[in-house]
């Protein structure tokens, strides 16, 4: 009987064949905590181990500060301090402080993520690392404590579904539109507990940034992980960051899937997710004349260089100034991205258009910083969640691609990017 | 006008951040709520134990720092009857008057009282009387300033002047 990608990854980890539904303890390659929930895990770990416990392997633990970087309240300042002291005490060298950026992207750029690895972290979007075929998943603090102690964690080997996207995305349709299409098709719990394998012509031609966008929102369908077999772009990135060559893990042809779906997305139009659930997806053109107060471009879903470059190219094409009544906020995912935006004059163009470029991190998306909303404010965001009240009680959040975001920032109302071309 | 109350004694250069921390300036808006944070970083017991009419006695340069009016508002809302100091920072001086918080510049009082003493201030006579029987005089506030205080602060004063009261 053939294996799905997730069955292969876990079998390889365990050194024996596993199949979906089995409960297994998987050895972990990396346990990641953030300034969000990280301190809770540290305090719990100290409590459970009597204050003098040692983690299973300090080199397999990473600490990232992105939730609120730098801190805006004392409690978080202290929480970060708790994590720093923990790193010192335990000899953890992978500490990424407030100057580095979004955790998953930071560890990816640091070369800590490889195909076939098993990673847990205090971030529900940890699974975006499925874009490099890592089995990465978000967990709560108790799981982290268990991981700190044992270096392994229990899982139910998930069932898999296969989703094939064929055809070609027509400009200005972006991977984010494809992602929103996926969320719409699956619904908010359509992939609950499942491993989702993406393939097809569109996936083959998708670069790493686009794959990260798609994988990140598997969470919004309650999926455990979204996996894609690395293509040349992903392999080149991994080679650069880790110095190693990876082949990628192909599913067996006779692997068992709960469902196989195939879509031709050549006719896909720009999409938008309306308040207050990610699954509430419509065509941008169906959402008429909604005035916006703020635009946010960034987050773990759309905060990579390629996202900003696409936004920049579009801005240069259609007009160079944002609407004076709209606050337009750009938050690079990482320091590496921020530097590249500076070097290539992209940050300059955004600022000259009236936008604000912030330091890297989760920023607005975790209501950490930079643009929390007032009651009745309308935000257009490239992030992944538009839950009611998440970014300010009584506010409205729409999710879209960086190009839709730019088009709307220019006009001051929700606008299909095709309408300005 | 007379004020009588227990003394809370603090030192020199009591700044606006310890009277009312900057982190609350946009998140704590209600004077009653402000009162709960009064002197929080200097003396956490103050806000819990202050009683209406209590008097703050301080050294020189009371209220230096920010222009935040909440540093006067929070004391007024906490029921403070007056602040007696060796000297006041100028913006605080204005803010206190504008909020109707009586302030007295009288350097001699500082060394004559302890925390918990009861003192009485007679604004008309310009006299402070301590429980030990000492009497200190201070120069009364300029007449138009007293006018503001008597009206309960600058805003009521202006309303009266503009006939909006």
């Amino acid at each position: 009987m053939g294996k799905t990608i997730i069955e292969k990854i876990i079998s390889e980890k365990l050194g024996r064949d596993v199949k979906a539904g089995e409960r297994v303890w998987v050895p972990l390659d990396l346990v990641v905590i953030r300034d969000f929930a990280g301190p809770n895990a540290v305090l719990q770990f100290d409590e459970v181990t009597g204050g003098n416990g040692k983690v299973f392997d300090p080199d397999k633990i990473a600490i990232t500060f992105d939730y609120q970087a730098p801190a805006k309240v004392e409690k978080v300042a202290n929480n970060q301090r708790i994590c720093r002291k923990f790193a010192e005490r335990q000899g953890i060298k992978h500490l990424f402080d407030v100057n580095t950026g979004v955790g998953q992207h930071t560890i990816l750029e640091a070369g800590l993520v490889t195909p076939g690895s098993a990673i847990i972290g205090t971030d529900s979007h940890m699974n975006l690392l499925g874009a490099v075929e890592s089995f990465s998943t978000g967990v709560g603090t108790t799981d982290i404590v268990a991981g700190f102690i044992l270096g392994k964690l229990w899982f139910r080997v998930p069932n898999s579904i296969k989703i094939m996207f064929n055809g070609k995305l027509e400009y200005p349709v972006t991977p984010k539109d494809l992602t929103l299409f996926y969320v719409k098709e699956m619904g908010g719990d359509g992939a609950n507990y499942l491993s989702v394998e993406f393939s097809g012509e569109v996936i083959d031609s998708l670069n790493l940034a686009g794959r990260l966008t798609l994988a990140s929102m598997v969470t919004e369908t309650s999926g455990k992980i979204g996996l894609m077999v690395p293509n040349d772009d992903v392999k080149a990135f991994l080679k650069e960051k880790t110095g190693q060559d990876f082949d990628g893990i192909e599913p067996d042809p006779d692997a068992k899937y709960l469902e196989i779906r195939e879509y031709d997305v050549s006719d896909l139009e720009p999409l938008i997710s309306c308040p207050h659930t990610p699954e509430n997806v419509k065509k941008v053109r169906e959402v008429k004349r909604v005035k916006i107060d703020e635009v946010f471009i960034g987050s773990c879903t759309n905060g990579r260089y390629e996202d900003f470059k696409a936004a920049y190219d579009y801005l240069m094409k259609v007009g160079k100034e944002f609407h004076p009544k709209v606050r337009v906020i750009f938050t690079p995912s990482t320091r590496e991205v921020a530097l590249r935006l500076l070097e290539e004059g992209i940050a300059k163009a955004f600022v000259e258009a009236g936008g604000i470029v912030t330091n890297p991190g989760c920023s607005l998306c975790t209501i950490g910083h930079h643009g929390v909303l007032a009651k009745d404010d309308v935000l257009l965001s490239t992030s992944n969640r538009n839950f009611q009240g998440k970014l300010g009680k009584g506010s409205y959040v729409y999710l879209c691609s960086p190009l839709t975001a730019i088009a709307s920032a220019i006009t001051g109302e929700i606008t299909d990017p095709r309408d300005l071309l | 006008m007379k004020v009588k109350g227990r003394v809370w004694k603090y030192g020199d250069d009591i700044n606006t951040d310890v009277i009312f921390p900057g982190k609350y300036t946009y998140t704590v808006l209600d004077p009653e709520e402000m009162a709960k944070h009064a002197l929080e970083d200097l003396d956490p017991s103050f806000a819990k134990e202050v009683k209406p009419g209590d008097i703050i006695v301080a050294g020189k340069n009371f209220g230096c720092g920010s222009s935040r009016e909440q540093a006067a508002t929070c004391l007024k809302a906490a029921g403070v009857g007056a602040v007696v100091a060796k000297s006041f920072a100028r913006i605080y001086y204005r803010n206190a008057i504008n909020q109707g918080l009586p302030i007295v510049q009288c350097p001699e009082v500082y060394d004559a009282v302890e925390k918990g003493d009861e003192i009485e201030i007679d604004f008309d006579k310009g006299e402070i009387r301590t429980s030990k029987g000492d009497v200190f005089s201070f120069s009364p506030l300029p007449e138009f300033v007293r006018g503001i205080l008597e009206d309960g602060g600058l805003i009521p004063h202006i309303k009266k002047k503009l006939g909006k009261a």
Partner: protein, 420 residues
């Protein structure tokens, strides 16, 4: 008999031939500046019962204290201001976008700070505009509401103090060190209620930015206002940007000063203000080696391009010490753009800095770098009061941008002359 700067400006504005210290005058300010506190001011204003502000062209509102909004309460505060601005037709409003910045920096860059003007602001560092020969001072919220309603404010004519400054800065010593030294010498109330005039050949040599640093911190010695006599540099700076007419007003040569101080720059060395008062000043040498957790470069005192350049010069091609957070917040988007153009931002990010969007940042504990209990921060800001950066159990040292950058580099308080 001659009049000081403050006496001359106030006499002129009050329509009097002369005034003396202690006189009470009522004047109409040329501008009234507010920031995020415009929202609470607008509520007080409305409670007065006046429908329209006295002059919507004379009110300037600049959002800077918590931008972009870090909490829903700050967001609501901003939204209330936008509504008020629209209702009242307030002409000069600076929202959360790349035209903005710290109110005092922006007020000067936009040409509102003009010689001979009387300017009030609902922020204590409004005294900064004295760098352009304006009489400017901070007032509280109710007082600002009253100004909006009536266009009038009373002042007690202040006594004046003259600080003569000669010589030139030794290497590694800056205007920040000078003003800290002065505050340390005369104390946090050394200029209480007074008008402070900075004069002498060294002040003439100083850039506009340096003059702003001096005047900015006059409030930290209790001063009502600080002023530098306008000269060619001032006029050149204002030539294209001045918003409105102005007249240069200078103190009379025979004016009477309550106190005169003299400083010789060549005798100065880098200094810090130690916790928890600004007048607790000592040479950097005395605290050298003290471990820091955070270094902060920015604010209305020292967030300008020359400040960022010094830091970049020190950090070029180097990495800040492990375990130190270095937070850099340019004072305005104009500064940010210039720093971007010159490669200063890249240099600083490469060195490990966090570049925050222009605004006040963590200076008064709002966001972007609040300290944990027991932490030590060295900062280019103007106040080190207990709890100022959000935590009463942390410690803040104030210093020049060079000292802050040098300390970020080494992870301990460092005399910048060692790394320049």
């Amino acid at each position: 008999m001659g009049m000081t700067f403050a006496e001359k400006v106030l006499a002129k504005k009050a329509g009097l031939s002369s005034v003396k210290p202690g006189d009470i005058v009522t004047v109409e300010p040329d501008r009234a500046m507010s920031h995020d506190n415009a929202a609470p001011i607008s509520k007080i204003f409305k409670s007065i019962g006046v429908e329209k502000v006295w002059n919507p062209e004379k009110i300037v509102i600049i959002l800077d204290h918590a931008v972009p909004a870090p909490t829903d309460k700050h967001a609501k505060n901003h939204k209330d201001i936008r509504k008020f601005v629209a209702e009242q037709g307030i002409k000069y409003f600076y929202d959360v976008n790349s035209d903005g910045g710290v109110c005092h920096q922006l007020f000067c860059e936009e040409g509102f700070a003009l010689p001979g003007h009387v300017i009030v602001g609902s922020d204590s560092h409004t005294c900064t505009y004295g760098a352009f020969g304006a009489f400017s001072t901070g007032i509280g919220r109710s007082e600002m509401a009253a100004v909006w309603a009536t266009g009038q404010i009373w002042f007690r004519v202040p006594e004046s103090m003259k600080i003569g400054i000669e010589g030139s800065f030794p290497r590694g010593v800056y205007a920040k060190d000078l003003i800290l030294k002065i505050i340390g010498d005369i104390g946090a109330d050394g200029a209480d209620y007074k008008s402070v005039e900075f004069t002498g050949s060294a002040v003439k040599e100083m850039s506009i930015s340096e003059r702003m640093t001096l005047c900015n911190m006059v409030i930290e010695m209790g001063g009502k206002n600080g002023v530098v006599e306008p000269d060619e540099k001032t006029l050149a700076y204002l030539e294209k940007i001045a918003k409105g007419d102005f007249e240069v007003i200078k103190a009379d040569p025979d004016a009477r000063y309550e106190r005169v101080l003299k400083y010789e720059l060549s005798e100065l060395e880098p200094v810090v203000a130690k916790p928890h008062t600004v007048d607790n000043v000592s040479p950097v040498k005395e605290v050298e080696g003290l471990k820091i957790d955070q270094a902060f470069l920015g604010t209305c005192t020292n967030g300008r391009i020359d400040d960022l350049r010094v830091a970049a010069e020190i950090l070029k091609g180097k990495r800040i010490a492990k375990g130190v957070r270095f937070i850099v917040i340019p004072a305005s988007w104009r500064v940010y753009k210039e720093a971007m153009k010159e490669g200063v931002l890249e240099t600083l990010i490469e060195a490990g800095a966090v570049i925050g969007p222009p605004g006040c940042g963590p200076c008064m504990g709002n966001h972007l770098g609040i300290l944990a209990p027991g932490e030590v921060c060295i900062s280019t800001a103007n106040r080190n009061f207990k709890g100022r950066m959000g935590n009463p159990e942390s410690e803040i040292y104030l210093a020049s941008p060079a000292t802050v950058a040098a300390s970020a580099l080494r992870g301990v308080i460092t005399d910048p002359r060692e790394v320049l």
